[in-house]
Symmetry: C2
């Protein structure tokens, strides 16, 4: 087993945590070497309006909140990026009040960087088109289509049960706390973003800034680590894609040949990913990156038969420390 | 000096930190007894659209991120609420990379709760009107007026200098890092909120939940602690209002008779605050709450003459621990 496979195998072990109890829950104090927040990326946009001087705004910046444990140097840091209609809250205290993944990884001596997608939550977004439409200087159809996940959508996409309000008998998400999950769901303005999505570039830059990091994406952002690696793989030591719908060719190291998603209702994919010789050349540079994918979202109850199903609706697995 | 005055005096001592170096910067490890996040408030809104079943969304929830230090029980916790076009990033690492107020208070053995205003950042907001206007089922003038603070606005409102790009010779904000402040500025959707602002109720509820807290507001939210106290003062142990523009009658204990603001460009005040006998009755209940106000925002260079000026453009003051 190569070092890369070792990291991948170790990371696979944590995937079961997404919907089940965190075994490392601890009342022990948490000792932090350093914590804080900063931004990656961002550019200035100048907006002109009648009868006032042009105004400058910063757009496309990515907010990052981090904690480094005392022994964080032992391991490669992780960068966690939330999914559609969610924020970095995804990785914090669970809906039913248990420890989140951010603290879980910290307690395993791993530095954790929570990156908020460009256009979401503390990263902000470019809202100028809204004011322009209100003022009549732009047309209503120029407004972004805002993704808002309803309670009903969450119930089925996250596989709580066969229909809204009815849980699977062996469901592992704490459905009695579903209302707390719904509070995490916020408007998704990714449709205002330029192409390619600035989050991908910022994730690649963050990996370089950290001298190596494992990038973790979830659902909408499940393929973001791959996209980041296609921009610059030099700071990326591993890729974890959680619940990004059904993808074929999901073995470690295979990249960019995803098939049709069974769930494309509220998750937009990059068009024509990995096409063109330049991108193909880049993809070759990181085809041996440790890559773990956990399928599930939108799958319903049928167990996948394409080999991606190891973590599908999985029971909790022990966290094998490595990397 | 009463206990209340003691807390107020102690809190006044920290106000100088807003724009100057934090003296407690430390490379020592930070030991946390508990940390996490949760929501206060929130309600279900059902949205109907043609040819699909009604969908439920959670709106008006307030996201709260907290850390409790080992000796946090020694002191009353603080709840910090950011201002216009900002998020809880306000209280974290400064634009030039120094320790933020959240960690500063933690290192003084005080639990810190960062509350994100309802309709901002991780609290989310109700975006349904945007989709309705895009779909043609609502009119463009029903869109919210989105507050976006430009670089130019920040420069003058936060008193970096007499005109954009030119700093006061004795300016204490690290203007060389102004670009990093601009990245913190995000769209402000407070205009989509019902009246009264749900953040006020949620702040009052959080105070009760914490069995007592000092509420801190900044700029746009400078008067939020007062509004929270008028809803329910029982969980509020003190009020700190930072840079909320020019208010008359700003002595400790005086409430609700603020005069005209010199800066109302991007800060909306509650209309007719404190009017009506019911609210006046409530105000009487907390008129002895320790209250500290630091003026400044939008004042220009003239030193206030109304007695509110102690912390105006102040030099760093030592933090007197109390409360």
């Amino acid at each position: 087993m190569t070092a890369g496979q070792s990291i991948g195998t170790a990371l696979l072990g944590v995937l079961g945590l997404m919907t089940v109890a965190a075994s490392a829950q601890s009342d022990k104090p948490l000792t932090i070497r350093s914590q804080g927040s900063f931004f990656v990326g961002g550019e200035t946009k100048t907006v002109s309006a009648p009868s006032q001087p042009p105004q400058d705004f910063t757009v496309n910046q990515m907010y990052v909140q981090f904690q480094q444990p005392m022994n964080g140097a032992r391991h490669v840091p992780v960068v966690m990026v939330h999914g559609c209609c969610l924020s970095s809250k995804t990785w914090e205290t669970t809906p039913d009040g248990r420890m989140g993944w951010n603290e879980y990884f910290l307690r395993k001596d791993r530095s954790v960087y929570l990156a908020e997608q460009v256009s979401r939550a503390r990263s902000g977004f470019d809202a100028s088109i809204i004011n322009q439409v209100k003022a009549g200087t732009a047309k209503p159809d120029q407004l972004p289509g805002v993704l808002m996940a309803s309670h009903q959508t969450a119930w089925t996409v996250f596989r709580f049960g066969p229909e809204y309000g009815k849980a699977f008998s062996d469901e592992q998400f704490p459905v009695q706390a579903a209302d707390e999950l719904y509070k995490q769901m916020i408007p998704d303005f990714n449709s205002v973003l330029p192409t390619p999505n600035p989050t991908w570039k910022d994730m690649a830059a963050l990996g370089v800034q950290l001298h190596g990091a494992v990038l973790i994406g979830h659902s909408e952002s499940g393929f973001f680590p791959e996209e980041a690696a296609m921009i610059d793989p030099s700071g990326i030591r591993g890729i974890v894609s959680i619940e990004m719908g059904v993808h074929h060719h999901a073995q470690a190291g295979s990249v960019g040949e995803s098939g049709e998603d069974s769930d494309s209702r509220d998750v937009r994919r990059s068009p024509r990913r990995c096409e063109g010789s330049v991108r193909r050349g880049l993809a070759e540079q990181f085809q041996n990156l440790p890559t773990v994918r956990a399928a599930g979202e939108g799958r319903g109850r049928e167990r996948p038969t394409d080999g991606t199903a190891e973590a599908w609706h999985s029971r909790q697995q022990p966290y094998a420390d490595a990397g």
